[in-house]
Subunit: 394 residues, 2 copies
């Protein structure tokens, strides 16, 4: 019998993809330049030259058999060594190659680690707003996802977190820089969360793990620093993807790093291997592993995203829309003027502005604008936004 | 709490990888030319020129952003169309693009389809011998894997199959050409299995699906034809990988095809989407999808595998070892002279011949020799095999 949950997940939740498909359809009707599609968080900046050159060089110097052969399930030894060394040098946490497990981007890292950490009937908490697939990964693992609302600036509401912690809590998922709000968790927040979790873990007699989902780590603007959570909280599993830093989302390459100081470290590493096998993973592309390992710390030129961020934020703010200035990622989270995000997105759509309702991210009352597009698209959309503002009497 | 099953799966079952690691270690000690490692089924023939040229061309003509961007979860529309058309033209089953779902090789296709077809407590039958990961995928889906022993020629024992069919049977997994035996299921076997399953499905009042795992379809020798199971049995989900036909195992590209005539077709397609999401898959590499779609029907030059097959088979046979001549894949399944496959592999290992015990494939009493190696390695190993044969008094 076909399990109902998969039919439901298969038929639902594709709102972002559906909106994008509508946008493509609409572009055929009115011209692509007249559709202001801000739905998909897909990088629009060329991968770094260093990365392209490295791939080129690998294709010239490594035989195709070697370049396209199986890698070990956890990743190539040399690559895991490079990643561990990079993390140790950058953030002062002494990872070893065995702490690293290469994954098909952050999504597979999350699916694997949540399977490895959650038993049937346990809770995973998540700081809202959050990426909707978390819920599926948690439920697939037999757990329950519990949302922790944030404060008005999208920072942590510690009381709200404490209220939701129970002896059934195994995991707290944190995504900073955040999709969809663009907020970066402050160091003081991380410290306060760590203190709270340590206290509660002692009370409950079992660890509470933080799963830190950080594909946007390098996409921060101004002098913002992103605290490295494993440096503050030992029971952290860090999930990373090269999708955004190298503009490489289609190649599915990332990793997870189990803190060397995590409780039950060896069991977690074994369970990660086991869950990886059980979910059907074999290995991450040898070619892209080798290339990424040579580009650790290399990042796309984010000045274009920054220009877009400032243009979108300043313009919408000036029109009267309420939004918090994003410090990272490539999203602007706009408050629906009357609190009805679905209505807001519908009204925007009538003007060919495509936004994603915040409901999809556990945060109704907002809409997400992905500004990883051409600057021109933002510029051309402004008159339509102006009309929208006027409709709401802003 | 960390689920025990993942710890167990993580710490176990890596016998092939462990043997290969031992081989690499041993090679350092005695020189690589003196270790006869036949453990890993990793292609050793250069990918076809057509494929390498296509990748080259794509890298020159498509912008890096476009080439490395997200693909839709099910695969690029143009690619699914090409695959559906290729299957229809080649085998006469009229697939549509919506029947095709691109996967990270056959392993992820199997993990996804078994999740999508099995509910808790149901049985998946498998014709032994079989690839050990099947058991994990079935158990991960909450099902139970039941082995159906084969006859002495590694063909189907229909009575054994019938005895194991019950109302709890949802799936029959068939892998032809077979890993590890190299056997190809005959058309008459496929017809007889189809008839039996149709009869039993009518009796039970629910479909029994065949999952046809066929990464070795093109690797057959002489004038052997591999029957296309969906052409004989409507309730078939076909799982394919380009790993072997294009010598591309590290890039993880393949697909599954739901027969257009399968019962509950739309629910299966939805469940495949849903299971893909739940297991953490996002998309298959855009670049390799585009390349593979241009290489449908293109296959590596298998004459080298064929030469290896004949050399290994004839030589071992002449020494007195019992083995069935393989028609496909790149494995020779050797009978342990005294029936003790573990002891046989141990004795072989003492002579630096590395084989995998058949126990790993649900078929004790045999050992697998992967002949996808250099012809020289086989040639150089023959004196050691000769000594082994003499030890057994052959």
């Amino acid at each position: 019998m076909i399990p109902n949950k998969y039919i439901t997940w298969g038929n639902s939740g594709a709102i972002i993809r559906e909106l994008a498909a509508y946008g493509a359809q609409r572009a055929k009707a009115v011209g692509p330049e007249n559709v202001y599609d801000f739905t998909i968080g897909s990088p629009s900046i060329e991968p770094p030259k260093k990365f392209l050159d490295t791939v080129d060089e690998l294709m010239k110097t490594v035989s195709p058999i070697e370049l396209h052969t199986y890698a070990p399930a956890a990743g190539l030894e040399s690559v895991r060594k490079a990643v561990a060394g990079y993390l140790a040098d950058s953030f002062g946490v002494e990872y070893s190659p065995d702490d690293i497990y290469m994954t098909h981007g952050a999504s597979s890292a999350l699916a694997i680690i949540l399977a490895a950490l959650l038993s049937e009937g346990e809770d995973a908490l998540v700081l809202a707003p959050y990426f909707p697939e978390y819920k599926i990964y948690v439920e697939q693992a037999g757990g329950r996802l519990i949302e922790v609302p944030c404060d008005a600036d999208f920072q942590t509401d510690l009381d709200a977190l404490e209220k939701r912690l129970t002896p059934k809590t195994s995991v707290l998922i944190i995504n900073s820089p955040n999709n969809p709000s663009g907020a970066v968790l402050s160091e003081s927040s991380v410290k306060a969360i760590s203190e709270l979790l340590n206290r509660k873990a002692a009370e409950y007699g079992h660890p509470i793990y933080i799963v830190a989902d950080e594909p946007y780590r390098e996409l921060v603007y101004g002098d913002i620093e992103v605290p490295f959570i494993p440096a503050f909280y030992d029971n952290t599993i860090y999930c990373y993807s090269f999708s955004k830093s190298l503009s490489l989302p289609g190649e599915r390459i990332g990793y997870l790093a189990v803190s060397p100081k995590a409780e039950a470290h060896d069991d977690i590493r074994a369970a990660v291997n086991g869950a990886g096998r059980a979910l059907g993973y074999v290995c991450v592309s040898t070619m892209f592993q080798l290339a990424a390992a040579q580009c650790l710390g290399v990042t796309v030129d984010i000045s274009k995203y920054d220009n877009n961020r400032l243009l979108a934020y300043t313009s919408l703010k000036d029109m009267g829309f309420a939004c918090v200035k994003p410090d990272g990622a490539f999203y602007l989270f706009i408050k629906a003027p009357d609190g009805d995000s679905q209505g807001f997105c519908r009204k925007a759509m009538e003007k060919d502005i495509l936004l994603v309702p915040g409901d999809a991210f556990g945060c109704p009352g907002y809409a997400r604008l992905a500004y990883c597009v051409s600057n021109e698209r933002i510029r051309r959309s402004l008159p339509a936004f102006k009309t929208l503002a006027e409709e709401y009497g802003l």
